[in-house]
Subunit: 795 residues, 2 copies
């Protein structure tokens, strides 16, 4: 690698006349194909005069962003060719679907995955018709689009995805188009700061291209209406060097864009060079491009007396053409399409002319063929150490542990170590707080801003990514996974709702890619939730929300998995399973505080692979039918259930109790509703067909009802869980406030078993007194009664 | 108002020695009280040597942010006094709870609402003990804290709340402390742009104070580790004029902070002056303060050989003091507390000395007494026009409407008109797309950046707030509501999940304030969801998610309400009801496309106040028991149900069908679970105890099961709804993909009623053929079959 010359020496009109011509032709071809997708179902080459019958009846899609994205795609093609770049394209405003379809069709990648959309008249007609058409392809850059690893339906995540994609891909450049409307979203506004985390030596580069076309749906954008100087300051402040490309005259704009890309590439090469030759230098200032061009560029100028090009009115269909629209509209559409001079672009078979087609890169350099965008192609199996080696020694049920997440931290440390280039841990500044600190025994948090003497576990290179933005963590991780790597997001349980909608979109992506034959499976999105609702030391009510799992299970059952391991060994087993899995979203909920342990490693392995099961050692119905089933799911509910069981066993030695523990929540679903679901026979065997079931659940109690409503014994299932009662208080008091504590569970049993008679009645009264005593004690002492704190399971 | 002098003339050391002394004493008092809250349960004035028995056993809370917030609060007190400002305080990092408690305690407002926490020794002891203690107060600036309208448990919303608070409050200044960690969140990162929307004439001002203490939980912050010049550029780029206050020497810092606040207030007065004297000038550059001071300032410097002050280690409890900690820790705590020289601050009764207390403002100028922070105090009833005047004329069921939301737009237009100072509509650039454009007949979107000739409905003053950030819309609206005003958020149904976690926090706030006697009820948070899952013209699968209501009903039943009006008149009725309600979160789901209308206004009023009911005109079981109950909830399900009913009536004239429509979703809950819930008797009367119920539902089908699992007839309820199948397709095909279409509903009936015999069998086969025909037709034509499109209910 040689030292790069000063960028000021870069030609500001680098294109020869011939090259400019070709680029412009290529762009016109893309624009032509885009308009065709919005409008036509026949007569694709306009060989006949355009008639209403050639048009789709429902004209759908977004024109406004499309010509700008075509312009960008075309110029990226040129620069890829010139410097043999490994580049992928992210369309932030993914509703510019026609642009990515046009771009990949022109370069040939589209026809490779969809042979019926061939590069000729018939194929072009198919391309047009299938866009936004029933049975066809969706209107966004989507899983169906080759070269797309980002959908852009819900705006805001493009830049986080781009940064996630280039981590550990030092040769990759993610060109990321950011809509100026999209830039107003919160996630996008903070994503610019990702540049403080990128390592120029070991990671690739993101080239953000702010698409400043001035408008969103029906409003101007903030960034388009602030003074130029503020815009510049803003991006300098974000740590970028903005390169402006501004105007609307194609000839001038082609030169300006080409020059800006030359500059940007020189910047990037300089940064790489410096990183190699002068390691340890200060964080680089990364280039970015601000493309200020009209929305709906080259489209209809004025329709029915209203300005369209360069206004918000070009956002969707700029010109409606139907039987009931003015006749002039049809003519306008025809002359609009002809303004791209299709005859100069396509040969008589409808194939792009050779000399124009040269603009496209070749083979895998074509952005539609970049393997990183079909991550499964590059996926390498994660090397997992034997998780059983990290076992917590449980010689008898009930001994105190050292924090379930803490124990798993050591396993994750070694996963990190064994997979130094394709596994990362993400978290919003909570990895230590969540007790995963073992990871920092061998790696650091990656950080490329300043480091001070008192900092801990920070380094320019590291396997942990932390920023106080759940959106960023999720977005980075998604980008990392989508490009064929592995990872884990650790997060406070309550605040994972911040990314509810991002989870939605990712789950939808997984569902769709599963159905597309040329898409390969990627690693699962693994989410570890801790600092849960039941244990909020320094925080209170605001930090209590176990509802993410309710949200998750609304998505397709082939995609989602939810685990609530009750102790350290079961968490280890679940974690190893999830890290090895593909194409799921796995949610693991676990405790970080020292708490009783129940299962030896051998038992945990068996229990977790079953996912649900009777705990033999805690039950006494081995020889007969149970009188009652005590079910539990989650670490705290398991503790309270077992404490309740010991009270029951003490007072009613003859009572036959069965203890059922659930690790894999979706075992409760019917087999027909979820692949993990128990069949009715097995469910009935576990939960009986007629005995009361007292179910202590980690989350909102009605979730269990939702899962079991169609089981035989459903009317006998009584669930306790979190019901939005909470504050800062002792850990036991949290269960009392929500009536899921051992005493309430015992009282529930007494209520359901009238045959316990007056012995039951007296015990119930005792327990009620106990609850009063508890309240008084904690209000006085600020901690739980010794009999609660020191309670241990006795075999 | 007089012209303000140039700010460069402002003294950069404005404090006299005496004033500086007093300010410092006040700050020390606040710090002393803060440490006391974290540690002590006895010996509040350190009159005895400190012993372990005086300490809380569980030491909880956050020290790091607290001294800085105390510093800010103290200085705001001074500036309020000096300029008689109407100011409120928002603590972004609300975990600085000890600071707001100390601040309000010192100024007297705390004792006014909690007389047991008096300004004397006994009261101080109470103040200390109750903090983060069972039965006490939570650790965050919270509903329990006087002067707080923002909790700050979940970080990121302070600035949006601040801007929402000052809208239409021209004299109000919201001083908003933003944590440098908090500033990394997406919502906060975009909230800075709120200044493009504020009208300096009719709105108040936000004074952001970036609390650059360098750290978050265990990491440095991004903004603390970028060069000074980037930080400056960033905030200039955001459109602010940053005033820096940097250092750690209290004497110097007091002067610097006082000077910065003088400057800021002069700026603000200048802006107001200009707005009045030179209206129509360009958008002002608003001042902000960047306070760069050590985290854990004035706390322990080094503990056990590790630097604490000025590092992340000061975030929570900087020094643990217990029986098992080194003995030196107890001494360190004592000398730390004594370093504030409590003897100089409090008299022998524990009361703040008079001359120091003078720093606090008086009466309602005290930030803890600012009525805007207890918005219900200022709430004026919304003036609602008679919604019945906006009725859509329905002379017979089934006539085509003009879009339910569209009709309600006219009502909202007049609500806006009648309440020009305390009602606003918020939306992420979708108000027109959501068909509420009637509002723009009389008002505009408020926008204080540049306006161009082709813009529509933009003005420096307007009642609609639009930015492409669901977070901002929600945050602004919350701030507006919390300060005693009214509003509506309109949003695409799928993307409302972006604010799931914000909704959580607001619902928790409402729940808690309900239980606090001195808190007054505020207006409901009204959310109108449209562009729903069933009708996505230009978009597809990414825009399909009806799950927000699942999320909402996990929160306390006293707080949440969900409505799915089936047509225009019922939406009008529901909207009027919601706008008039208090202290709820109301979610309304409605269609924006022209669709059949069912109820006259009179019928709609009755039906909506019932919330659920039999549709007489569609049923034929008046004289006997029904054979089948056809239930529906939501506009599209209602349409499909009625179409199914007409097929059934045509083929099986003897079949007794009851049609039940649900508007108020929580009617389905049990009475004991939700205040709207039907009692079992009424439920059984409607849904029968043993007849099949075919239920077509707008959302995920299992939500209905979750609500009805404990009803008598639950095992006979068969629900159809959205099950994550979708793409861009025709509107009828969306129902087919999810098997909620009329044909599937009829087939469901046939399956449940074996007595329909072979007539049923033949019909079923016909309908299956119909579905094939439908697919073929739409794949060919891109629109629905005429018999579907033109189907109308026949009486
Ligand atoms: C989070 C989110 N909110 C709202 C929308 C609805 N929406 C679709 S396109 C659009 C405007 C996009 O503007 P911009 O990013 O500038 O894209 P462009 O101008 O290139 O079309 C909006 C608000 C969305 N897709 N995502
Ligand atoms: C959205 C969100 N994510 C994570 C947390 C957990 N958390 C609590 S405090 C904190 C650090 C806050 O840092 P900063 O805003 O700088 O506050 P300060 O330094 O003043 O304490 C974090 C990450 C949170 N409260 N909210
Ligand atoms: Mg735009
Ligand atoms: Mg901080």
């Amino acid at each position: 690698m040689t030292m790069i010359t000063d960028i000021t020496s870069i030609d500001n009109a680098p294109l020869t006349g011939e090259c400019l011509e070709k680029l412009d032709a290529y762009w016109r071809a893309a624009n032509y194909l885009s308009v065709g997708q919005l409008y036509l179902c026949d007569n694709p080459l306009l060989e006949e005069p355009l008639k209403i019958e050639h048009l789709k009846k429902m004209q759908l899609g977004h024109w406004g962003t499309t010509p700008g994205q075509n312009f960008i795609y075309t110029h990226l093609n040129r620069i890829i060719n010139r410097y043999d770049l490994n580049m992928l394209y992210i369309s932030g405003p993914g509703h510019g679907g026609p642009a990515v379809a046009a771009g990949t069709y022109l370069e040939g990648t589209y026809s490779e995955v969809y042979p019926e959309v061939s590069q000729d008249r018939a194929g072009m007609k198919n391309l047009f018709k299938r866009f936004s058409f029933p049975g066809g392809v969706s209107s966004h850059a989507s899983p169906q689009t080759p070269g797309s690893m980002h959908e852009g339906g819900e705006l805001g995540y493009s830049l986080s995805h781009a940064f996630g994609a280039v981590l550990d891909n030092p040769d990759l450049i993610a060109a990321c188009v950011v809509g100026d409307g999209e830039a107003e979203t919160g996630p996008l506004a903070t994503a610019w700061h990702s540049n403080k985390f990128l390592n120029p030596l070991t990671d690739g580069a993101v080239l953000p291209i702010l698409h400043l076309n001035g408008y969103k749906i029906s409003n101007p954008t903030v960034l388009a209406r602030i003074p130029h100087i503020e815009l510049e300051q803003l991006f300098h402040g974000y740590g970028y060097f903005p390169l402006f490309v501004e105007g609307s005259d194609p000839a001038i704009m082609h030169q300006a864009m080409a020059a800006a890309l030359e500059q940007a590439v020189h910047f990037l090469k300089q940064i790489k060079y410096n990183a190699i030759e002068h390691p340890g230098q200060e964080r680089p200032k990364w280039p970015m491009i601000i493309l200020n061009s009209p929305k709906g560029w080259t489209g209809p100028k004025v329709v029915d007396g209203k300005q369209i090009e360069g206004t918000f009115r070009s956002h969707q269909i700029p010109l409606t053409v139907s039987e009931s629209s003015p006749e002039s509209h049809l003519q306008m559409l025809e002359s609009w399409m002809k303004s791209y001079r299709p005859g100069e672009l396509f040969d008589t078979n409808g194939c792009l002319k050779k000399e124009i087609a040269e603009i496209a890169p070749k083979g895998n350099r074509r952005m539609g063929a970049n393997a990183h965008t079909n991550g499964g192609l590059l996926l390498r199996e994660l090397i997992l150490p034997d998780f059983q080696r990290y076992a917590f020694n449980v010689n008898c049920p009930g001994i105190m542990g050292e924090g379930d997440v803490h124990v798993t931290g050591r396993f994750l440390r070694d996963v990190t170590l064994l997979n130094p280039q394709n596994f990362r841990v993400f978290g919003p500044d909570e990895t230590v707080s969540n007790k995963l600190e073992a990871i920092f025994e061998t790696t650091s948090r990656q950080w490329n801003a300043d480091i001070n003497i008192n900092d801990e576990y920070l380094a320019p290179k590291g396997r942990v990514m932390e920023m106080l933005s759940e959106h960023q963590c999720e977005g980075w991780l998604e980008g990392y996974l989508l490009t064929g790597r592995h990872g884990l997001f650790n997060c406070y349980e309550a605040f994972i709702h911040i990314v509810d909608s991002m989870f939605n979109q990712h789950a939808k992506w997984l569902k769709m890619t599963r159905e597309i034959p040329w898409r390969r499976k990627i690693a699962s999105l693994n989410i570890l939730l801790t600092s849960t609702v039941w244990r909020q030391d320094h925080n209170g009510f605001t930090h209590q929300d176990p509802g993410f799992i309710d949200h998750v299970i609304n998505k397709k059952s082939e995609i989602v998995r939810v685990y609530l391991p009750p102790d350290s060994n079961s968490l280890l087993s679940v974690m190893a399973h999830c890290l090895g899995s593909k194409h799921y979203v796995n949610v693991m909920v676990a405790g970080k505080h020292p708490s009783p342990q129940w299962l030896s490693m051998d038992e945990a392995v068996v229990h977790c692979s079953r996912g649900i099961g009777v705990w033999d050692w805690a039950s006494n119905d081995q020889d007969c039918d149970p009188d009652i089933v005590m079910a539990c799911c989650g670490d705290v509910p398991t503790l309270e259930t077992l404490a309740a069981v010991s009270i029951l066993r003490e007072h009613f030695p003859d009572l036959k109790i069965r203890v059922v523990n659930v690790v894999d929540l979706l075992k409760l679903e019917r087999q027909s509703s979820h692949p993990h679901g128990l069949n009715d026979h097995d469910f009935d065997a576990l939960f009986t067909v007629d005995k009361p079931v007292i179910f202590a659940f980690h989350g909102y109690p009605w979730l269990i009802h939702r899962l079991t409503y169609n089981r035989t014994n459903n009317n006998n299932i009584h669930v306790r869980g979190y019901k939005e009662e909470g504050t800062i208080t002792t850990s036991f008091d949290m269960t009392v406030l929500n009536e899921m504590d051992r005493f309430h569970l015992v009282m529930d049993v007494i209520d359901r078993l009238p045959h316990l008679g007056s012995k039951g009645l007296y015990l119930k009264q005792n327990l009620m007194d106990k609850l009063v005593e508890h309240k008084q004690y904690i209000n006085m002492n600020g901690e739980d009664m010794p009999e609660i704190k020191n309670w241990r399971w006795k075999a």
